[in-house]
Structures are given as structure tokens and as C-alpha cells.
């Protein structure tokens, strides 16, 4: 079961955008997100919009056809070379590589990829092989993001992950061999039962793997997940924010010592070119079209999101109707709030003429060169800083 979609205004059946939203298209960057809602099995902590084979009578081919139809619909609405493509899920690499290639080709054929475009796919370590990685690389994928989560078997078990600790590291090596330069490892910290040493060893392995990017997230217990139910029943302890804070500090210490630099509160990269340009697009208020069931899009202050279920999604497109479930046309003040909310989380921070730093408690912002950026303590209290700035 996935988290509920926001309420919103209806989306016109042809998916049309108000013309002001299309002004300056491309000046804010333009990307494509493709949501692949399939997983081999459902992880207990996950509330994403994803389905296992047994939950779905909807083939990979049907799904790809539907996304191709949405690309066709979008092609009539906007046109601009695509700078970043991101396949997320779900587990995109559960799709046969040629199907992923069909989707990427359609994007390329419709809008063209800008020179040096970043093309990322997420993958689970157990869902890739040297051959599949090689094929992806050959089809134009430039970046791979692997869900390592932890090096501790006990933690992987609580998270219901299917891979063994060594598999993610091996997958990094295979990806490098296949020609990928940009490789991310996702880590989850603060899982109940995870020791400080567990997390240290996860970091150590991730750093030593040769990945040039690490995303580290504290475990969030989402309502309605199996993990939430197990915590409610007392089978598993509630994750502690203080422990999560300790882990975050450990991540920063280890990663920065190894030459990684934070550029967003949960993201570290070895050098500037290793940063995820697609995610930066989100955080800088850029434009992107999200394809696939439940995918979110943003173009020029209009945010919309597709219907969640793959079958409904397919039916809408088969009858020539936009799969958009709802949208919101942001007011100027909502756009400003989002700007502060997103930009403040970045290492680049915000210029002083956009915010009133006196509203923020001492020690959370580093003010220099006309900009304010989060201090290390400020990164751990980023939401509080943002609330102070916006209240």
C-alpha cells in the first residue's frame, strides 16, 4: 500500500498546462522521471507506489506501452531537450533491459537528449548482473544508484532486503567494469537493532567500493507499512532520533574524511561531477515530467501527479486521457516557501537577501559571502530552520 496522493485540482483530460507555466521552459533545466512500479518483493518499511507480480495482473509490456502513450501525450504539450533522465521505483531493473531501452529511446526520439545528459536508473543489487549492466551502459545509461542499505545482515533482515551484504559491493565493481563512472549507494541508518559499529562498517564498505556518491537516509517508519505494524506490536523497537543523529554525524565524519562532500542534507559526492543532477533539478525548482503511475511532475509552478494504480494508469492512456490525478498551481508565496524549503537543504544555501537569518537560533546557519548555509548541527535540524525562516 502506498502513501496517499495529495488532494488537488483536477487535471484537464488532455493534460494541458496553463500557458504561463510553459514560459521560460528549459531555463530552469528540464528532466524526465520514469516510475517503474514493480518489485520482486515488498520491503517492510517501504510505502512507495510499487507492486509485486502477485499483486498485479499487468505485464511489463502493458506498462511500457502505457508510458510510451504518456510520452506521446507530453510531446504535444511541451518540447525541450532533456538534460536528465531518472528511472526510479520500484525496481526499474526488474524490467528487461530492452524494455528500459525502449523507454529511453522514446524520450530521446521525442525531445532529444542534451549533450552530456545524465541518465540514471535505480537498481537493487540482486537485480543486476555484469551482462545487464553492460547492456544498460550500451543503451546510454550513465549513472546507476544501488540500494545497498546496510552491510549488517541483521539490519537487512529487518528491512526485508533480499540481498546479502557483499552483493551491493560486488554490483558496484560490476558497474564500474561495465563502464559506469557515476555510481551511488543508498544507505539506511537508525534501523532498530543497528549498532554504531554496524553503520560504521556499512560506511566503510560503501567508501571502499569505489562508488562516487552516497545517499544516507534515516529510517522513517511510514504509517501503514508492515514495519509500523511490527513496531506497534512491540516486536521491533521504535527508531530513536538521538541515535539517528549520532549515525548522521558518523556518516559526515567518515564520508568527509574519505573525500566525499555533502551537497544536500542526505547526499554526499566525491566531486562536483558526481552529484546527481536530476535530484538537483528537483531541489532547484527545475522542470520535469514524471511518467508512470503515481509519478509527480513540475513545470513552471504547476505540480501534478498521476493516478497511482498501474491498471488505472494504463486504462486512462488507452482511452487517450491524461493519467493526471490532480494538480496544484502554486501561488507566489507557495513557490517561495518551496524554494526556501528545498534550497535551504543544499550546501549552496540561500542568499541573505531572500531570508531573515535572525529568525533562526544561533549555531544552525553559517553566514558568509552573502549566503546562509546549514551548519552540521543545522543539517540535523533543517526542518526546524526552515520553519523558523517561513514563520
Amino acid at each position: 500500500m502506498a502513501a496517499a496522493l495529495p488532494e488537488g485540482d483536477p487535471v484537464p483530460s488532455d493534460g494541458a498546462l496553463p500557458s504561463p507555466a510553459l514560459e521560460g521552459l528549459g531555463e530552469r533545466g528540464f528532466g524526465v522521471y520514469i516510475h517503474v512500479p514493480f518489485c520482486a518483493s515488498r520491503c517492510g518499511y517501504c510505502d512507495f507506489n510499487t507492486y509485486t507480480a502477485s499483486e498485479l495482473s499487468f505485464s511489463a509490456g502493458d506498462y511500457v506501452d502505457a508510458v510510451l502513450a504518456e510520452i506521446k501525450l507530453a510531446s504535444g504539450i511541451l518540447a525541450h531537450p532533456v538534460e536528465t533522465v531518472f528511472f526510479g521505483g520500484g525496481t526499474p531493473t526488474l524490467l528487461p533491459t530492452d524494455q528500459l531501452a525502449r523507454l529511453l529511446d522514446a524520450v530521446r526520439d521525442t525531445w532529444g537528449l542534451a549533450p552530456g545528459a545524465e541518465v540514471t536508473t535505480e537498481a537493487n543489487p540482486e537485480s543486476v548482473s555484469p551482462a545487464s549492466l553492460k547492456a544498460l551502459r550500451e543503451h546510454g545509461f550513465t549513472r546507476i544508484s544501488l540500494g545497498m542499505q546496510s552491510a549488517a545482515p541483521g539490519v537487512l533482515r529487518i528491512l526485508d532486503r533480499q540481498h546479502t551484504p557483499g552483493r551491493a559491493i560486488a554490483a558496484v565493481e560490476e558497474a564500474r567494469t561495465a563502464g559506469f563512472k557515476n555510481i551511488n549507494l543508498d544507505l539506511i541508518y537508525g534501523t532498530p537493532g543497528e549498532s554504531a559499529a554496524d553503520f560504521e562498517s556499512s560506511l566503510e564498505l560503501a567508501i571502499g567500493s569505489g562508488a562516487d556518491h552516497v545517499s544516507a537516509y534515516s529510517l522513517i517508519v511510514e504509517d501503514g507499512t508492515r514495519l509500523a505494524a511490527r513496531i506497534d506490536r512491540g516486536e521491533i523497537a521504535q527508531p530513536s532520533d538521538d541515535v539517528a543523529a549520532d549515525r548522521y554525524l558518523a556518516a559526515e565524519a567518515r564520508l568527509s574524511a574519505a573525500g566525499f562532500e555533502w551537497y544536500e542534507v542526505s547526499n554526499w559526492a566525491r566531486f562536483e561531477q558526481a552529484r546527481c543532477r536530476h535530484n538537483l533539478l528537483y531541489w532547484r525548482g527545475g522542470d520535469w515530467w514524471g511518467f508512470g503511475p503515481g509519478a509527480h511532475s513540475h513545470v513552471g509552478g504547476v505540480r501534478w501527479w498521476n493516478v497511482k494504480h498501474p491498471r488505472t494508469y494504463g486504462q486512462r492512456l488507452a482511452s487517450g486521457v491524461s493519467p493526471g490525478h490532480g494538480r496544484e498551481i502554486l501561488t507566489a508565496s507557495e513557490r517561495r516557501d518551496e524554494h526556501v524549503m528545498l534550497a535551504m537543504r543544499l550546501a549552496s544555501g540561500l542568499p541573505l537577501d531572500e531570508i531573515d537569518v535572525s529568525k533562526v537560533e544561533d549555531g544552525l546557519l553559517d553566514v558568509r559571502g552573502g549566503r546562509a548555509t546549514l551548519t552540521l548541527r543545522g543539517r540535523l535540524l533543517a526542518d526546524a530552520v526552515i520553519r523558523s525562516l517561513l514563520t
Binding site: 522521471y33 538521538d242 542534507v265 503515481g294 524549503m341 533543517a382 526542518d383 526546524a384
Partner: protein, 616 residues
């Protein structure tokens, strides 16, 4: 029926029933209504008079405050003679001692009604003493003799011991079956003295209750002592000199019956059209304007609030509604006083004075239930009299207004407390009372296994969860009554609670110096649990003046960030942020510390209850 205004005082018996709640007063009253045939058998229903009270609450009918019942004596030497019985109700709680005393003063006799399965309770005992002080003749009655658990012999001993009669003098009745009730009515006529007064003297009638009715205005219940009041008279309130036109005069039987007049010894109601019970006060003397009495009847007292508490609307915008609600309640409650106050922590509200804890609870409940208000009330406190070294006197009704200069003596109100307990719990009760600075004034065995303990105690100690403690230490068996007994000097201090060095006015308390530490640690620990962690460490201190006596720390929050914020999270996150911004507006700021309103409510809610509740 003998007509009101034309009844020979020798035929009149004015009496009340002193009983504890659940001891069967209402059921006994039902039997009396039936036997005296004042209620049509087809209209009879259980707890007839109580039902009228409920209706009265809704403002429909007049309270059955004093029921006039004709009775033809059935047995004995007076058999066949016609009497008029006026059964006068008494308010049922410890907070209303004065009102009880006025009701008793309207009677010549009291039926002491005790459950034959439970024995007498402290509050009943206190009212019995009050009746004896008023020179009332007592008829002891054991009720519920039909119950298998009844022990009439045992409790007859107890009652005989208490009032100095023989166990055989205790009547045995069953309100449920009616057994013994006709005999009791005969006995009321035989034993209770008739009222005595001067029929030709200027009229003097004592107000023993005064009730606001939304349709009729104030309905005043009086007992005529001397002279007579006629329907066309203009009456005068002797305490204020105010003169009112009489719109209606009558008796309750048990529905209101208009009458031409009421004379010596009679009980009736007056309606003048006034809208506020303060203009028709319990204990005041009513006379006739055209021929006024020279001297009022004794015993009139202004109601004096004993317990204060700040009442604040949860939603600050409801302040005008709270004011309006209090103004309305005041019409029917001469004892309720209030004035606006503001608290840095709680905003705008009213400091309200009450007769006691139950009175406070009743008012609070009515404000919430009838006026739909959500309220925060501060911990109740008593009134302190502070003598400064320079001789100035300051009366403190709000601890945060305790004077800061050189304090000489501090006086606190005291009460005479009576506790009845099975003798197994005497030790536990004594320990509790001593812990509350009580001093033992006497101890009596009511029977082989029931003990009456009399203490002098500060009222301030009673209003702080004493009753709950008493009940829990005696497995619910002990009962409590108390009445004001003056004041005493005591070593009292004001304890302030500070958040990050800022005093929080709502938590200031005046306590005995030996208890200051306990109060400080308790509140500080409570607040540590209730206030969410802030971006910085928040010390919570309890202090007497500048001296810190207890300290807790709310550790700074270390993590307040959602790790993930990708394309699909943005709308959800912005909406959450908007919600949090709204939430932040409802936070009360104490210095830099954000305190959720719920924390104030939870910290201020103590488990204290208000003594024996309900009516007898």
C-alpha cells in the same frame, strides 16, 4: 386542605431530611407525597422531586424547594387531627454549609435519615451537628430496613450514641416498601414543635433559597417568622433596603400554587421580577415596605469565596463568550465572583472565586457543557492574607500576585474537618491528616468499629487532592466534611516555576515551606515530560524568590529533518510545513520556549476531586 395564609401555626410542622446521597431521601419523599395525596396517583413517578430539579435546570419549572403536604394524623392521641407538613430541601454539599444552615434555620425539626446497611457519613454528621446547633428536634430514622444487608440494631446504637437517645427511639422505615412511613409522619407531627411567631408584628420572613428561572426571573423561597405577607404587598429586602413589587406569591405542593397570603410559620415562594439572585440573597430578611420590621432576623452573611482559580478559554477568541457565560451563571449564583485577569502563559481569562472545590467543579462543568466552552483552569488556591513588614496588608487570590517586598506574616484559612472511618483505617487517616498539617482536635468511637476524627487543617491542604488520597487510603470507606474555622499564621512560601529563567505565572503556587521542594520537583518533572524538546536545552527550575530548589532539563532536540525530499515528496512536505506553521501559532511562547497548550492543561490538571459530591 388548610389554606395558605389561614393556617394555625399550631398545625404546621417545618422540617428537613438530613441524609447522605444514596441513603434514600428521594424515595422516602415519594412515599410522603403519595401518602399525603398531594400528587395525583396517575402522575406519580419515582424520585418525583428530583425529576423536577432536572426540569428546573432546563428552565421549565420551579424548584421543589419546599413542599407543603397536608396530613391527617392516623394514630395516637392526635389521631384525626389535620396538620400541614412543610418539607424543606437542603443543599447537599460541604461547600454550601451556609445555605444548609439557612435551610435548617427555616425548620423546627430534622429527620436524620441513615441507610441501615451503611451507617452515618461524615457529611450527614456535620449537618446533624449544624441542626443541633440550630436547636432542631431530631427524629433518627433508619432507612432501607428491607435490605438483606441492613443492620438496624447496630446503626441504631450508633445514632443513639450520637444524638443522646435510646436505640429504641430510632424509627425504622423502608422508603421502598413504604413500611413505617405513615408512622413517621405521625411522629413528625407529635415530636416536632410547631413554629412560634408574632402574628401581629411587622412581617419578617427569612430567605432560605433563591433561584433564577429564565421565564419567571428570581424565585425566592421564604419562611415567615412574624406577621404575614400578602400577594399585593410591596416587599423590602432588609440588607439592601431594596423594594420590590410582588408579582406572585404561593406555596409548592409540589407544583406551585398561587396564594393570597402566607402567615406565621408558613413556607412559600415570592416572585418579584428581579433577574439576579444577588438582589434576593439567601439569609436576608424580607419585610413589608408599608410596615417594615425594625430589626432583621439574625444570621445573614455575605457569601465569601474560599477557593480561587483562573479560568481561561482554550481558544483566546472565546474570551467574550466566557464573560457572557459567567454573567449568566452569576444570575443564579450569589457566591460566584470573578474578575478579568491575564496570564503571560494562558492569555486572557478570569480569576474566579468559589465557595469550594465542588462549587468550582460545578461552574466549570456548566461552562463547558451548557455554554460549549473549552477551558483551562489553573490549580485552585485559597485566599492568603499577607502582612508586610511595613504594616501593609495584601490579600492574595492569585499566587502570581504574591507580594515581592518584605513579607512579615502570612495567614491562611483553616477548616474544621471531620472524617468518619472504619477503625481499621484510623492510622492511615491520621498519617494523611498529619502530612497535611492537620492537628487532631478529637476522636470518638461512633460504634465499636467506626471512628470520628476531628482535625483542624489548612483549607489549602484540603483542596489539593486530599479527598482522593483519603478515599484511596481507606478503600473508599472514609467520608469527609469540613467547614471554615478562621485563619492561622503559617510559614508559607511562593514557589515559582521558571522555563529558561522565565517565570511561568500559571504554575506559581503558595505552599508550606516544608512542601516547596516536593511541589517544585513534581511540577518540574511533569513539565519535562510535557514540553517537547526545543532547538536548545531548556532548564526548568523551581525557585523561592531567587533561590532555586529543584531543577530539570529538557535536552535539546538533535534531529528535526526528514531525510528524503525528492520530486514526489515536495507537495506533501510543503503541506506538512503549512500545518506546522499553523501549529506553531497555537504554541504559547514563554521567552524563547514554545509550549504547546496541551502541556499547560496536562500540567495543571491534578487529580483532586471535590469531596463528597452530589446532594444528600
Amino acid at each position: 386542605m388548610i389554606q395558605p395564609g389561614a393556617t394555625d401555626p399550631a398545625a404546621i410542622r417545618n422540617f428537613c431530611i438530613i441524609a447522605h446521597i444514596d441513603h434514600g431521601k428521594s424515595t422516602l419523599a415519594d412515599r410522603m407525597l403519595q401518602l399525603t395525596e398531594v400528587v395525583d396517583p396517575r402522575l406519580m413517578r419515582a424520585q418525583y422531586l428530583d425529576r423536577m430539579d432536572i426540569e428546573r435546570e432546563r428552565g421549565i419549572t420551579i424548584k421543589s424547594q419546599a413542599v407543603r403536604m397536608p396530613w391527617k394524623v392516623r394514630e395516637g392521641e392526635r389521631a384525626g387531627s389535620q396538620a400541614v407538613l412543610n418539607m424543606i430541601d437542603t443543599p447537599g454539599h460541604v461547600d454550601f454549609t451556609y445555605e444548609v444552615s439557612r435551610s435548617l434555620a427555616a425548620c423546627e425539626g430534622a429527620v436524620l435519615l441513615v441507610d441501615a446497611a451503611q451507617g452515618i457519613e461524615a457529611q450527614t454528621l456535620a449537618n446533624l451537628y449544624l441542626a443541633l446547633e440550630n436547636n432542631l428536634t431530631i427524629i433518627p430514622v433508619l432507612n432501607k430496613i428491607d435490605l438483606p444487608a441492613a443492620q438496624p440494631d447496630k446503626y441504631a446504637e450508633e445514632l443513639a450514641h450520637l444524638i443522646g437517645c435510646e436505640p429504641e427511639d430510632c424509627h425504622r422505615v423502608s422508603g421502598k416498601t413504604g413500611e413505617g412511613v405513615p408512622h413517621l409522619l405521625d411522629e413528625i407531627v407529635r415530636k416536632f414543635p410547631p413554629p412560634v411567631g408574632e402574628a401581629d408584628a411587622p412581617a419578617r420572613a427569612m430567605i432560605f433559597d433563591s433561584v433564577y428561572d429564565i421565564y419567571r426571573g428570581v424565585v425566592t423561597y421564604v419562611r415567615v417568622i412574624d406577621g404575614r405577607i400578602e400577594a399585593r404587598d410591596r416587599i423590602k429586602m432588609m440588607s439592601t433596603g431594596a423594594v420590590h413589587e410582588l408579582l406572585e406569591l404561593g406555596v409548592i405542593s409540589p407544583e406551585p400554587v398561587k396564594s393570597k397570603a402566607i402567615g406565621v410559620g408558613e413556607v412559600g415562594y415570592l416572585i418579584t421580577g428581579v433577574k439576579d439572585v444577588r438582589q434576593s440573597r439567601v439569609g436576608d430578611t424580607v419585610t413589608i415596605n408599608s410596615r417594615p420590621a425594625k430589626q432583621a432576623l439574625g444570621g445573614y452573611k455575605d457569601p465569601k469565596p474560599m477557593v480561587y482559580s483562573g479560568l481561561y478559554p482554550l481558544d483566546g477568541s472565546e474570551y467574550p463568550d466566557l464573560r457572557e457565560a459567567l454573567d449568566k451563571l452569576k444570575l443564579n449564583d450569589a457566591a460566584l465572583v470573578y474578575e478579568p485577569e491575564s496570564s503571560a502563559a494562558l492569555g486572557f481569562g478570569f480569576r474566579c472565586g468559589f465557595l469550594g472545590l465542588l462549587h468550582l467543579e460545578i461552574i466549570r462543568e456548566r461552562l463547558e457543557r451548557e455554554f460549549n466552552l473549552d477551558l483551562i483552569s489553573t490549580a485552585p488556591n485559597v485566599v492568603y492574607r499577607v502582612l508586610m513588614e511595613d504594616g501593609e496588608e495584601v490579600v492574595v487570590t492569585n499566587p502570581s500576585e504574591y507580594p515581592t517586598g518584605k513579607v512579615g506574616e502570612v495567614y491562611e484559612p483553616t477548616v474544621r474537618a471531620t472524617v468518619l472511618t472504619p477503625n481499621d483505617f484510623v492510622g492511615a487517616v491520621m498519617e494523611l491528616c498529619q502530612g497535611r498539617r492537620g492537628s487532631l482536635r478529637g476522636m470518638d468511637y461512633l460504634s465499636a468499629d467506626r471512628v470520628e476524627l476531628r482535625y483542624s487543617m489548612p483549607l489549602g491542604e484540603i483542596i489539593f487532592d486530599f479527598f482522593d488520597q483519603l478515599k484511596s487510603r481507606t478503600k473508599g470507606y472514609a467520608s469527609l466534611d469540613y467547614e471554615p474555622s478562621g485563619e492561622q499564621a503559617a510559614e508559607l512560601v511562593k514557589v515559582d516555576i521558571l522555563l529558561q529563567g522565565e517565570p511561568v505565572d500559571a504554575f506559581s503556587a503558595i505552599v508550606h515551606k516544608d512542601k516547596a521542594y516536593q511541589y517544585g520537583t513534581t511540577i518540574a518533572a511533569k513539565l519535562r515530560e510535557l514540553i517537547p524538546r526545543q532547538q536548545f536545552e531548556v532548564p526548568i527550575q523551581a525557585a523561592i524568590g531567587s533561590r532555586v530548589i529543584a531543577r530539570e532539563t529538557i535536552r535539546a532536540i538533535r534531529k528535526d529533518v526528514l531525510a528524503k525530499c525528492y520530486g514526489g515528496d515536495i507537495t506533501r512536505k510543503r503541506k506538512l510545513l503549512e500545518k506546522q506553521k499553523e501549529g506553531k501559532k497555537r504554541m504559547k511562547m514563554v521567552g524563547r520556549v514554545e509550549v504547546p497548550q496541551e502541556a499547560f492543561i496536562a500540567a495543571l490538571s491534578t487529580s483532586e476531586s471535590a469531596g463528597d459530591k452530589g446532594k444528600k
